[in-house]
């Protein structure tokens, strides 16, 4: 945020603040060890607020749970902002010194009255008011979120709405006050930092606009980096659709099962002229491939680094010999390059890392030796004497305008409901998420036995089950505008009528992504996994006018 692609705070700050907001995050189950830090904060007197459509395990620890309507986050955030401004709780000293665009923002949130937000979000006006006041009045506050914010067609706007709140109250750039997006995978932060996103060079430097970074890369690599940004995954699928992208090399990703509107994703991948998959498993995507390159498991069978949600770069190390002909990713890439006529040598992981340090100023002080000694370092860490950075954007509080630098802009955003509208035909809102003992499409967690695991179910409110005449455990047919599947129902009192929940953990049994919509956020490329309109039918004759099970998958 404000030009840095990472959370501003460190986990320990959750222990030192007065107010923690978990927004669209069930950290108790999905980031359990981060939640330990939150709990230490709670035990020291911090107030915990949880914004989530479900009354999750995290919400059960909260002082107040705001059971928001799926996808109405901006309505809630803007109403909080209006309330904070009107109650005189905005941090005007900070706003005047360190931000820009406040007047336009204040005007943009003005229509979001508490009453209107209560209608849009389903959260009582009094609860919105309490959260607004608690956040604005706190000396130190952490605003944390996960995929409940980002798996929407307007993901970037959702994030901006939260950043606006932090700017409005000055809850950024100070110890204990910050913004904390919790990453879903152990190196999703590091992947972006290393340039594995379409518009970035290593070190999160812009490929189109950062002339200095471009020059450094050109000098080190001996070739000019591409002048324009590439495609993100959703754009790639569109390009496959158009026949423009005909060949794909997929490393450690299972898009055949992890992408929204699964039938469509499989059709795109199956239509490629050439598909190479490099993975530690023979995933569904690998089954579609022309060539499969067996790789070693990065966290236990090879050397390298990963970066966590608090920007901490840490070493992964080889503990096991990889099986059979599985090889390290670096080795495979260099061998491939050699066959393509470019000799990259036979670099060790540390040599690759040192190259990155030459290209990326924020990683420059992170030698393997220091990472080993210090238990990891948080970027930016520009030189060998630098201790790493606990929290970002301290400059916004500097007295000297030169040191304060560019103002952080307010970006007004408007509430837009989810694309997949609930209607009389599809009256129930299906949202998705993770459970404690499982992970994503289950290829890793499927390997161990967990007493907590129950398999896939369509979770519905007990009242909803009663209304539909469905028994707990009964198999039902779930129909969305894109697909149909059968799944047992589980009555779950953490849901309210009109809301259903499924995971993506058991795609071989229940392909939840046959139901989800691939409406994607144009800026981040994330699909709206969190908001699907469905109807639930008792099993009987096939439904009229719905696509057959399996979607369009040929």
């Amino acid at each position: 945020m404000f030009g840095a692609g990472g959370g501003t705070s460190s986990y320990e700050e959750a222990e030192a603040c007065d107010c923690v907001i978990l927004w669209g995050s069930n950290a108790r189950e999905t980031h359990p060890i981060f939640f330990h830090h939150v709990l230490r904060g709670v035990r020291r007197g911090a107030r915990l607020y949880v914004v989530d459509p479900r009354r999750t395990a995290s919400a059960q620890w909260a002082d107040l749970w705001l059971g928001i309507e799926v996808g109405s986050d901006i309505a809630l955030a803007n109403a909080m902002a209006r309330e904070i401004i009107r109650a005189g709780l905005a941090n005007h000293a900070f706003i005047a010194r360190a931000t820009s665009g406040f007047d336009a923002y204040a005007a943009a949130v003005e229509p979001y009255t508490l009453a209107r937000a209560a209608g849009d979000t389903g959260v009582p006006a009094e609860a919105i008011r309490e959260l607004a006041h608690a956040y604005a009045r706190a000396d130190r506050a952490q605003l944390c979120w996960t995929l409940g914010i980002t798996e929407h067609h307007n993901a970037t706007d959702n994030v901006l709405a939260l950043i606006n709140l932090a700017l409005l109250t000055g809850h950024v750039g100070r110890y204990g006050s910050g913004l904390c997006p919790l990453r879903g995978q152990n190196n999703v932060q590091g992947g972006g930092d290393m340039g594995a996103i379409p518009n970035k060079l290593p070190g999160f430097q812009d490929v189109e606009t950062d002339a200095l970074a471009r020059a450094r890369c050109a000098e080190l690599w001996g070739v000019e980096p591409p002048p324009t940004r590439g495609w993100h995954l959703s754009e790639m699928l569109e390009a496959m659709d158009r026949g423009e992208l005909t060949c794909a090399y997929v490393i450690g990703e299972n898009p055949a099962q992890s992408e929204a509107d699964q039938g469509h994703a499989i059709a795109c991948l199956a239509g490629l002229d050439h598909l190479v998959v490099q993975d530690i498993f023979l995933t569904r995507t690998a089954e579609l491939a022309h060539v499969v390159l067996p790789a070693s498991a990065s966290w236990a069978e090879s050397e390298g680094t990963v970066t966590s949600s608090e920007r901490r770069v840490q070493r992964v190390r080889r503990a096991l010999d990889p099986p059979g002909s599985a090889r390290d990713d670096i080795e495979i890439l260099c061998e491939l390059a050699r066959r393509l006529g470019c000799d990259l040598g036979d670099p060790r992981p540390e040599a690759v890392w040192d190259e990155l340090r030459r290209l990326s100023p924020m990683h420059r002080g992170m030698s393997y030796q220091r990472l080993d000694q210090l238990g990891g370092l948080r970027w930016p860490c520009p030189d060998d004497a630098h201790p790493g950075t606990m929290f970002l954007h301290e400059r916004l509080w500097a007295d000297d305008p030169a040191e304060r630098g560019a103002a952080a802009p307010f970006t007004p955003v408007d509430f837009e409901p989810p694309v997949d509208v609930c209607t009389a035909e599809f009256p129930i809102r299906l949202t998705t998420g993770r459970r404690l003992d499982s992970f994503n499409t289950g290829v890793q967690t499927g390997g161990y036995t967990s007493p907590l695991r129950r398999g896939e179910s369509l979770d519905l409110a007990p009242e909803e089950c009663a209304r539909l005449g469905i028994r707990d455990g009964e198999r039902v047919r779930v129909v969305s505008r894109r697909g149909v599947l059968e799944v047992p129902v589980r009555a779950d009192p953490i849901l309210r009528p009109g809301l259903a929940f499924m995971t993506l953990h058991f795609p071989d049994e229940v392909a939840t992504n046959q139901l989800t919509i691939d409406a994607t956020d144009p800026k981040s490329g994330t699909a709206e996994f969190k908001a699907t309109a469905i109807r639930v039918e008792r099993l009987g004759p096939a439904p009229q006018g719905a696509p057959a099970a399996g979607g369009e998958a040929g």
Binding site: H36, N187, R312, E394, D437, Q444, S450, P451
Partner: protein
């Protein structure tokens, strides 16, 4: 460069340990002072990451002017305190604690320090006579229930191993009731409260609510109890099986620190590897991200790297 606000540096407090002056930051415990003075002090229920519970009493020391022996692990240092760690009274007390524990509990898988302390204090667990078989199932002991006083041997904590879930076993014949697992499951780390101490006196034992099997309890299988157990009462199921088969060989194990492959928190995992297979997972107590704690995925979710076709 950013910084966190530094607290006011703590004032130093001076006490004497076995006659030698020791200055420690205010708020330090007698145990900290003893360790700073280089004096090996036995502890069983103490762990840096948990609040002291004063359960085992093996760390007691003599403080001049104090009527009773005091637990070093929890007593803060006060200026001018004169501490004795090796008087006859301290040695007797420590010896008796070790004898009572070792006569009633199987300690052959406890940390090696424990055997060293038993030797140093001349503890003789056999002096109460041979361990006696149980008179009734421990888990059935009702509150206030006391069996007949046994005179021809030492009452012992024998009971069958609880092997009721795929992840870990509970062998409470090895449990010294140090409370660490209860603390780790409770307010000190996990806040799940699946286990507590049930019963009184010799019938006291660690139990789930109403002694239900683990899968019916509140347990979420984080294994943070295994991490803190000092006697091997709690163990990975694989370790328990290998020990039974006689294939557990700690001297051949290599411990490698890496990062958990799941969510983005970035927990440090210590993979204990024997014969190219992960046999136990721990996390460093001193790392500020985990403080030794993991979730079920980090603790038990490693299996996918060793479900290899054609093997096992």
């Amino acid at each position: 460069m950013t910084a966190r606000p530094l607290p006011i540096p703590p004032r130093l407090v001076t006490c004497s340990v076995d006659g030698a002056p020791v200055a420690v930051p205010q708020g330090s415990t007698l145990l900290d002072a003893c360790r700073q003075a280089g004096i090996d002090t036995p502890t069983l229920c103490y762990l840096e990451t948990l609040a002291p519970v004063n359960a085992c009493r093996v760390c007691v020391v003599e403080v001049e002017g104090s009527r009773t022996l005091v637990p070093a692990c929890s007593r803060p240092v006060e200026p001018g305190m004169a501490v004795r760690t090796d008087t006859e009274r301290v040695r007797l007390s420590r010896r008796l604690v070790l004898e009572l524990l070792a006569s009633s509990v199987t300690l052959d898988r406890a940390a090696p320090e424990l055997r060293r302390w038993i030797e140093r204090y001349g503890a003789d667990p056999g002096r109460f006579g041979p361990p006696l078989p149980p008179t009734h199932p421990r888990d059935a002991a009702a509150p206030g229930h006391h069996g007949a006083v046994l005179v021809d041997g030492a009452e012992a904590c024998h009971q069958p191993v609880k092997d009721d879930n795929p992840n870990y076993v509970r062998d409470y014949a090895r449990c010294i009731l140090c409370y660490k697992c209860v603390e780790a499951c409770g307010t000190e780390a996990q806040n799940t409260f699946a286990i507590a101490v049930a019963g009184r006196g010799f019938a006291a034992r660690i139990s789930t609510e109403y002694d239900v099997p683990l899968p019916d309890s509140a347990c979420v299988y984080c294994g943070n109890c295994i991490e803190v157990c000092p006697t091997g009462a709690l163990a990975f199921r694989g370790e328990h099986r290998m020990r039974g088969e006689g294939t557990w060989a700690e001297e051949r194990q290599v411990v490698t620190t890496t990062i958990c492959p799941y969510c983005g928190v970035g927990c440090n995992l210590e993979l204990h590897v024997q014969d190219n297979a992960v046999v136990r997972v721990t996390s460093p107590l001193g790392h500020e991200v985990t403080r030794g704690n993991l979730c079920v995925k980090g603790r038990f979710g490693f299996q996918f790297v060793q479900n290899r076709p054609g093997e096992g």
